[in-house]
């Protein structure tokens, strides 16, 4: 028995050598020598075991910190546009850091609440996919205004297709099934769509918003219809034109229809109403969810505080995500990013990409081009101009 303990002690010291980086291997040798000098085998084993525990925890925390810091550095390099738009600050990578922080806090809640592991994996997968999408999007050259209008129109067709042929539950058709996953296109597309509309409005983009409003009334989706009204109301306050007013009127009508129609869907565990249930679980779980939800608004507050050019996109972004959080608090709607469901995570990251796009060009340079030749001239002023080469 004594020999077994001593052998186990040596194995642990070997493991320490593997855990520690080369520059710190001296400590593993020191611990081994110290354990060898302890006469009592049991005490030596406990000594080595506890040293391993402490050093593994230290090593893990250092690696996590280094990984997170490296990720932030990379993000700050690929999102300079939003940074410059925010007066040389770091709204862009702050936004993605907020998304990562909110998802991590949500994972802590889901784990504490006993959610199945596949739910945690789906949230992590959505986060990775969303970050990758934003990276690609923000590195691409800016599309001309008419293409942005077409993008809004295609997004609205996706919402209409969901309303007419999506997966239905208790009379609501808000989801599309993709293999084992059920995604909610309105939560993924609508926030980015509203920010794109705030960026560039025209007849095609406005038609897209009208179709989206119709789709939300048909689904029915009170929460996202309310989000559309909130985003467009803030936009109308900041930038009133006929396109915004038409879109706002249509969205208000859609919201009214959605409110009149019955919505008997019950709350889904780990998805809906977790702002309340998390506090029932534990005050720390509740604090994690509340802090995660608050993090979602930080990019808007940061942009409003430090933005030097046009603050409208930040106001719209804040209105959109605040209204999604409020809807989740008031009804049986998904609690964004911190709750289970990749749709809100993807939607948040895509809207960050749209925010970076919308915020990077000074308002004076953002008038719709009179001719196709005008677009490259505008893009040349953008911080993304080097990517156009």
């Amino acid at each position: 028995m004594s020999a077994v303990r001593r052998q186990a002690c040596r194995w642990i010291c070997d493991l320490l050598l593997d855990v520690l980086p080369e520059r710190q291997e001296m400590w593993a040798h020191a611990i081994r020598a110290e354990a060898d000098a302890i006469a009592d085998d049991g005490a030596a084993l406990l000594f080595a075991l506890d040293a391993l525990r402490g050093i593994v925890l230290l090593s893990l925390s250092e690696r996590l910190f280094a990984g997170f810091a490296g990720l932030l550095r990379r993000l700050s390099r690929i999102m300079p546009a939003a940074d410059q738009a925010a007066g040389g600050s770091s709204a862009g990578h702050h936004g993605i850091a907020c998304a990562i922080g909110a998802v991590c806090l949500g994972l802590a809640y889901l784990h504490a609440a006993g959610a199945p592991l596949h739910m945690l994996a789906i949230n992590v997968g959505a986060l990775l996919a969303g970050v990758a999408a934003v990276m690609i999007w923000t590195r691409m050259p800016a599309a001309p205004a008419h293409e942005r209008g077409l993008a809004i129109l295609f997004m609205s067709f996706a919402l209409l297709a969901t309303a007419l042929g999506g997966a239905a539950v208790d009379g609501a058709s808000r989801w599309m099934t993709m293999g084992p996953l059920a995604i909610q296109p309105s939560l993924i597309l609508l926030p980015a769509m509203i920010l794109l509309f705030a960026h560039d409005r025209g007849p095609v983009a406005t038609a897209g918003v009208l179709f989206a409003a119709l789709a939300l009334a048909v689904q029915p989706d009170r929460a996202m219809a309310g989000v559309l009204v909130a985003g467009l109301t803030v936009l109308a306050i900041a930038r009133r034109d006929r396109f915004v007013l038409v879109a706002l009127a249509a969205s208000a009508l859609a919201f009214l229809v959605a409110m009149i129609r019955p919505d008997p869907l019950p709350a889904v565990p780990y998805v809906d109403r977790i702002l309340y249930t998390a506090f029932d679980l534990h005050v720390a779980a509740g604090a994690a969810v509340a802090a995660g939800a608050a993090l979602l608004l930080v990019p808007a507050l940061h942009g409003l505080r430090f933005g030097s050019h046009d603050r409208t996109p930040f106001m719209v972004f804040g209105a959109v995500w605040l209204s999604i959080i409020v809807a989740a608090a008031l009804g049986n709607y998904p609690t964004p990013v911190v709750g289970y469901g990749g749709s809100a995570i993807l939607g948040y990251l895509l809207s960050l990409g749209a925010l970076a796009r919308a915020a990077r060009v000074p308002i004076a340079a953002r008038a719709a081009p009179r001719s196709p030749e005008a677009a490259p001239a505008r893009d040349a002023r953008s911080p993304f101009a080097p990517h156009l080469a």
């Binding site: 020191a30 611990i31 110290e34 060898d36 000098a37 080595a48 506890d50 040293a51 402490g54």
Partner: protein
Amino acid sequence: MSQPRALSLQTRKVLSALLDEGRSGAHGYEIIQRVGIKSGTLYPLLMRLADQGFLEAEWRAPEVAGRPPRQVYRLTASGVELARRNLPEPHPSVDPLSGAAPA
């Protein structure tokens, strides 16, 4: 060389123990027995202090023949200064209000 803003009680106790040992230094297990902490707490703490330049380590030949060499830890000049500024507060042996020793 960076200096930690606030030292934990355990760090202050370890610094105090090493301060008492002076230039002769102390082995890891000796510090553990003297301060009353576990190896999983001591070694990360020693590693941080060494990284910050407050601690130096030296391999020393064993006092008993046949044993392997062991590492001895002692404070550097800046470590001594840090330890002196952060001595652990003694436990109150007298009630400051009544003047009586606690039961």
